[in-house]
Amino acid sequence: MMKNVNFSDEFLNAFIDGELDQKETGLILDEIRRNPDLSARITDLQKIREMVRYAYNDIDMPIRKKTYNPKRMKVWRAVAAGMILMLGVSIGWVMQSYEGGNRSLIELANAVQINQPPQNKDFKLVLHVTTGDTHRLAVMLDETERLLQDQEKQHHKVKLDILANGQGLNLLRADTSQFAERIHELRTRYNAVTFKACQQAINRLKQEKGITATMLPDTEVVPSAIGEIIQRQHEGWTYVRI
């Protein structure tokens, strides 16, 4: 390719980039008409410029999860921290009141085993009480009563054994139980519910602490809580441990 010696490459670049003044631009435009080589050089430079523009025209940014303004972020952090604090306080407050409120059996339960086939509408449940916690016991009795009421309304056959051993024995001990009246009411009102105490646990209390435990009048003593549970489970009872 013949190069025009009158114009430097820098000058031609400046021409295509619009960096020349009117006089210089006019000079080149005038020369282009007479000089095909000059025209070709300028065309090549323009082509290169267009090619570069084309090559980077569709560069897309990778998607960022989040962009943020650092200053604004500080404000949001403060707001978020405040909200978390509020949430913490609220949860604490709710939990505090929650301890004194109702909780379902499932929430209380340490273990659940369902042995009943789903099509069987008869409701048989053994509640294995191993805790002496007064609050938990109170909730358990509330839930038991609610359950019995519901089943009665729906005319379902229901059987419910409340079986105590270990610390749970406190529920049925005449000397320690805070629920003697409540248990009596339940027993009187619902034939379906029985309260059973484990003989093994009574014996252990005698051996370890020298306490001769007397059970509430509404309590039936069974030789072994574990034996009773196994028997019930064989019979298809649902097992919930409190």
Binding site: D17, V52, Y54, Y56, D58, M61, P70
Partner: protein
């Protein structure tokens, strides 16, 4: 700039929006310099962060582009210093990680051009992309890169010359080599 608090708030808000709008263009320019998606993203992010932190140092809002691309150039320079301390960035020629065979096979003109640009020395590449992609004047490029305007012109000139050889002369040569498809046979 002395503004009352309300006006200052509006001004800063507008400036923040304007800076945010430049993100894609900053990324494109960073990509044209390093041809590395992750690095471009990092450089863009760093530039944006610095710009937002240093908004008060922008004396003339009209010169936002120059100021912003200047920050990008500094970020890039810093990155380069951190990673390749003992080389002159203007003399450094990047190796082309996209092979010509691959370009030929895939027929991607974009890749061919990008490969040619990536082979330019960094100083030339910066001058070229600032002028061609971002449309900056030579004087603005000189400000952004902190070099004399004559250097901008010479770098740009050399860059385009090299690209012409890489992209146009090659095409001409292959055209010249081609034999005529039809011959008269007596």
């Amino acid at each position: 700039m002395n503004l009352n608090p309300l006006k200052r708030l509006c001004y800063e808000r507008e400036l923040r929006n304007r800076i945010a709008e430049k993100r894609q263009r900053l990324y494109r320019l960073a990509y044209s310099w390093c041809h590395d998606s992750a690095l471009s993203d990092d450089l863009t992010q760093e530039t944006m962060t610095k710009a937002l932190h240093k908004m008060s140092s922008l004396k003339n809002p009209e010169a936002l582009d120059c100021w912003l691309y200047g920050i990008l150039a500094n970020c890039w320079r810093d990155h380069f210093r951190r990673t390749r301390e003992f080389e002159n960035i203007d003399d450094c020629t990047f190796t082309d990680d996209v092979t010509p065979e691959r370009n030929y096979e895939q027929q991607y003109i974009t890749q061919t051009i990008q490969a040619a640009v990536s082979k330019l020395p960094l100083g030339q590449r910066q001058a070229l992309t600032l002028v061609d992609l971002e449309g900056f004047s030579y004087a603005e490029v000189a400000d952004i890169l902190e070099i004399p305007i004559g250097t901008v012109m010479s770098r740009l000139c050399r860059a385009r010359k090299m690209l012409t050889q890489e992209l146009l002369d090659l095409k001409t040569q292959s055209g010249e080599d081609r034999s005529p498809l039809l011959r008269r046979v007596k």
